[in-house]
Structures are given as C-alpha cells and as structure tokens.
Symmetry: D2
Subunit: 146 residues, 4 copies
C-alpha cells in the first residue's frame, strides 16, 4: 500500500523589487538573491512559530556554511517576486533550506538554490539548537520516505 | 598681519567603483556614497592614529545622527574615485565630518556632504569619547580663525 | 474665516527589517534609510498613478541631487518599519520629497529626511518631466497657504 | 618524463572590510562575498588585459548562471582580506571562475567558491564572446593535463 505523499511546508514571501537592487545591466544584481533567500528563511522560521529574533535573543544564530544559487531568468525593477522557502534537512546542530524565486505575475522561475547552516552561540561555536526549535523544524521539514 | 592659514588634515581614500554599486540608470546608486563616506571616515581615524576597531573594542561607537549629501555628477563603473574626509568639529560627545568624492583621473567633484556623530556605548547611550581620542581629533580638525 | 487645512498626500509603505540590513552595532546600518526612502518614493509615485517603471520606460529618471537624513532612534532586526513619504515641492524639471521612518508597533520616529530630484533623460540631461506626471504630482503635493 | 606543472594565473585583490559589510552577528554578512567574488573577477579581467568596462562598451556582459560559496571562517571589520581569482574553464559562450577569500595577515581561508557565466548581449541573449577576449582568457586559464 503506497504511503501518502509527505507533506512539505513551503513558505511564500512576496517581495517588491527595489530600484537599489538593480545594476547597470538593467536587471537585479545577482547578490540580492542571497538577501532574498535570507528573508525567505526568516519568514519560514516565523511561520513555524520560532521567529529568528527569538533564536538570537537566546544567544544562538544560524551561521551560513554553504550557499548555492542557479540563476534562470533575470528579475527586473517594477515587478514583484515570491521567495518560496522549504526546509530540506534538520540535524541537532544544523539544517538546510531550499529556495525558489519566482516572478509573481507569471510564476516564471528566476532562481533556485540552497543554503546550509550550523547553529552557533555568541562566540561562533557550533552548538545544538534549542530542542523546541529542532522539534518544530523537524515537523515542518520534508520527510523523505515517510 | 594676515593669520596663518589653518592646517586642516584631509585624508584621501581611493576606491575602485564596484559593478554591484551601479543601478539600472547605468551609474553608481546614490546610497553607496553613504558607505563611501563611512569608509573615508574610518580611513581618517586610522590616519590620526586611533583606528575605529580600537574604539569599538573599548565599547564605543560613533552613531550617525545627521547625514547630508549633495550629488554633483554621476560616478560610473570602471572608474576610480577618491573620498576626501575632513573633521570639521569635535566635542566631548561627538564630532562632524565633511567629505568630497572626486573622480580619480579628472578630479571632477561627484558629491560632497557631511555627517554628524555622537559617541555612544554598547547600550546606545551618549558618552564622552575617550580623552586620548578627543585630543587626537582636536589636533587634526579644522581650526577656524586660529 | 479660517482656511481649510491643506490636504497632503502621505503614502505609507510598511517594510520588514532585513537581517542583511543590520551592522555590527546590532542595529540597522544608516545607509539603508536611503534605500527605504527610495522605496517610499516609488510607492508614492505608484499611489498617484504614475509608477516609476512607466517613467523609466519613457526614457526619464528622477536623479537624486540632494539627500538629508536626521537619525532619531535605531531600527532593529525583528521589527517592522513604516516609511511615510510626501511630496513637498514640484517644478517642471524637479521635485522634493519628505520622509519619516517610524517603528510600526510603537510609531516611534526612527529617522526623517528629504530628497531633491531633477528629471533627466537617458543621457543624464535635465529635462521637463512629462506634463501628465507634473499634473499628478502637483495635485498630490502639499499646498502651502491654500 | 613528468609534464611541467600547468601555469595557472591567480589574481589577488586586497580589500579592506567595510563596516557597512558587517551584520548584527558582528561578522561580515555572507552576501558580501558575492560582491567580493565579482570584484576579484573584474580584477582578473583587468589583469589579463581585457577590462570588463571594455566588454560592456562593446555591448556584452558576463551574466552569472551559477554561484557556489563555502564559508569556512568569519571575516570581521578591521581586517583586510585578499580575493584570489582564477579562471577554471573557458568556452566560446561562457566561462567559470574559482575564488578563495583569505585573511590578509594570517592567510586563513575565509571562503571559497565558484561562479559560472554566459556571455550575453544587451538584450540578454547568449552570444559568443569577442574572439580576442576568448584567446586572452584561454591563455590564462588552468590547463588541465597539459
């Protein structure tokens, strides 16, 4: 009997492209997707009920250890984009997110990518994330084979 | 008898325009001059012998309270600019800088402006700056009428 | 008989503070207010019915000639701010905006300021703005003494 | 008889960390490495004798199609970093760069990564890069097995 398809939480964050985010090619500079991924990730944590500022207030942070972006189509000023963020892996000391940035009106894929994180304390040392956060994340992550 | 011309320390910081600093108008986005002023101010403090990281290590910072920029001519990618920074006022709890950003090859004035600062501690409260720093700054500032 | 109070259009743009906008002082870096003002200005043009991308498509831009910001209180990550933008002067070749950035939940004033603009063509030459835009702007600007 | 070791051109670009590049974790925000890679890439093209502004003037650009960064250690305000850029692949319509960002004083590896590019015209269409540029790049790239 086939298992039901795993439910995966994807949080969608709409962003208006800022003029300051464009470059002399007339398109959004590729560095801004890193900032958009981060905004998507923070919206994700907010959606699962553990806002990032709360993590920071407890002296923890999710340091970025790996970033990969594949650019598909240019974003332009005057449009709105949607950052879709999913958690694809959770461990006691880290996690990994997947992102898609899409044009809001046409749903065209502009870029997709991943970030990997380790949980660190104020001195930058790897630490286990708060148990409550780990539980919240695990229940929202993609459950492969479940 | 004519007064001797006041000696004024102006620190020149050359910067290569980054492509990421351009916008869809094909010129440097106006927000980057704020970052260039800051880089010029930090080069100034380095030049007078009290590097900003040393100030930060002692728990102080120069919070910006006022910023004024007059844009004269556009900076473009592929050029080099020079940020000229001068200290124009020093008080126990604050100071004021003046800046000129010039095209390196032609000396064309691209922008000029001022920033005002108060010295704050780690909690953001106004504090007197370290005495040694105040002395160093006062000896480098413009002495009007001296 | 008292004059009726001039009707002034103020457009409010809510923005979520991005982590990337913070600096090592733990607050929003002061350069980001320049970007927030711009976002507010663009929201204003959208609200009066002449979106900035439409201006750009016709070969015009509002080059910034003057920028003034007074910082009152620090913005922090985890909060939402509201950028209030008003047009305070309109001429055939330029205009001037006033801004207030306020904490969304407490209405605390974080910063206020002004920008001055000239209308330029694709080659950066000063030009009269499209008549239709000038009319729209004039009907939305503050009318002093009216 | 052993082959001579392939000669690989690595261009080193020193950069002073800007305060504006830090974030509330007290370290350089991870998005800035994308800008630093770009600055390194542009210094590379300058070093091989085909400055990027010259490419842009001929109506071409190197659009970024892929970006990968592995973060090893945090960069901090007050230090200087060196961006080492190498060209690792050249094709008629694109190329790939490898980067290392190192702490200037200690040579500590802070981050490394790659970017992939396609040559595009002003309308964003993939095009063969100018022959002269392709030759210059090929003579500077890593020659595997040579």
């Amino acid at each position: 009997m086939p298992e039901p398809t795993a439910k995966r939480l994807a949080v969608a964050l709409p962003l208006t492209v800022r003029f300051a985010e464009t470059d002399a090619m007339g398109i959004v500079h590729h560095s801004n997707y890193v900032v958009w991924f981060e905004a998507g990730r923070i919206a994700f944590l907010e959606a699962v009920g553990y806002p990032y500022p709360q993590l920071a207030a407890r002296g923890f942070a999710f340091a970025v250890t790996d970033l990969h972006i594949r650019y598909r189509s240019a974003a332009r000023f005057g449009g709105q984009v949607i950052v879709h963020s999913e958690l694809v892996e959770v461990r006691s000391r880290g996690c990994r997110f997947h992102y898609q940035v899409r044009q809001a009106d046409t749903d065209t894929l502009l870029a997709e990518g991943e970030t990997a994180h380790i949980c660190v304390d104020r001195d930058g040392r790897a630490r286990c994330m708060p148990t409550e956060l780990q539980s919240l994340l695990q229940s929202s992550a993609v459950r492969i084979g479940s």
